[in-house]
Symmetry: C2
Subunit: 187 residues, 2 copies
């Protein structure tokens, strides 16, 4: 059985397990560093570039250089040249949990027919606008709802989501927070 | 003086202050809800769609529908059809802080010649791969370094970053965490 034949849901399961074995015996390979570079375009419109990262012992680059705009909408005096920064948090959460569902389902031999999710975040701008010190700057709450169809029962499909949540990098960061250090230089 | 003439750094400052006045007298206008919809494409590759949001009392849509791929890199047995979900967290952070710097500088009458930042996140995959329970799933630490040039002194430029950090929605969510509710349905 070659790797292609063993792919389930687009996940190369033998390669997935082989990767786990490699990392288990070489824990230093598990150290990754991800990066983005951002520059202001005009006003609240900025653009990030994502290309290189470090992982599995060496410098790497994505197959393509990715650039992303972000902006504030016109109702918040931006020019709406892209989604707001907080909307990218929602994309990050959904894509992380969905990748986990795909990997876990494949490892368990479950074929997925559909994985969709909708994610919403509630935010009261009285906080970040500095108008009410009792209101936080960020989201009050995020909700994500999955709709999944696959060749197993409801309980096992639900367990895919639960296991993905338990192992998600983005879910961990969003729910538990992470130390952020901010530096500044000028010329 | 019309609004265009008053724009500084691409920020329409009179409109910015007018918006603050409106929200101050109509706090209910400050309730926003942002959204994304995601679907699995194949394996760890998924795609999110960002279009509609609620804010300032009504349903709204961005000028364009935005779609974003995310994937795992090949070294993590993905197909590298996009950045990883955790890289979008870095873009969200940089773009949020940069938008804040632009707004705050403009409100203070400071002209910005350049705002650039590089952001990095360190992650040990022993956690999310389930190989070491003592390691968290998400980033251990995120660092963001700004390089800013403008028509004022170093102290006032540095204060732009400090004030932006103090009012950033994404910085708040990443450093303090946010409740995330996860739902599941099938057919």
């Amino acid at each position: 059985m070659n790797a292609k034949a063993a792919a389930l849901n687009g996940v190369d399961v033998p390669n997935l397990f082989a990767t786990l074995d490699v990392v288990r015996s070489h824990p230093e390979a598990a150290s990754f560093q991800f990066r983005a570079a951002n520059r202001m375009v005009s006003g609240t419109h900025s653009m990030s570039r994502i290309s290189g990262f470090f992982g599995a012992g060496e410098e790497r680059t994505h197959k393509a250089v990715h650039t992303y705009d972000a902006d504030h909408p016109e109702v918040l005096t931006g020019a709406d040249n892209g989604p707001t920064p907080v909307e990218f948090l929602l994309h990050a959460l959904a894509s992380c949990l969905t990748a986990g569902v795909a990997n876990i389902a494949s490892a368990r031999g479950i074929r997925l027919n559909r994985v969709e999710s909708s994610v919403t975040g509630d935010i009261d701008l009285m906080g970040l606008l500095g108008l009410d010190e009792s209101v936080r700057n960020g989201y009050q709450e995020i909700r994500i709802d999955f709709e999944i169809e696959g060749d197993t029962d409801t309980t096992r499909l639900r367990e895919l989501v639960e296991r993905s949540v338990a192992r998600s990098a983005v879910y961990d960061v969003l729910t538990n927070g992470v130390p952020v250090k901010v530096g500044f230089t000028t010329r």
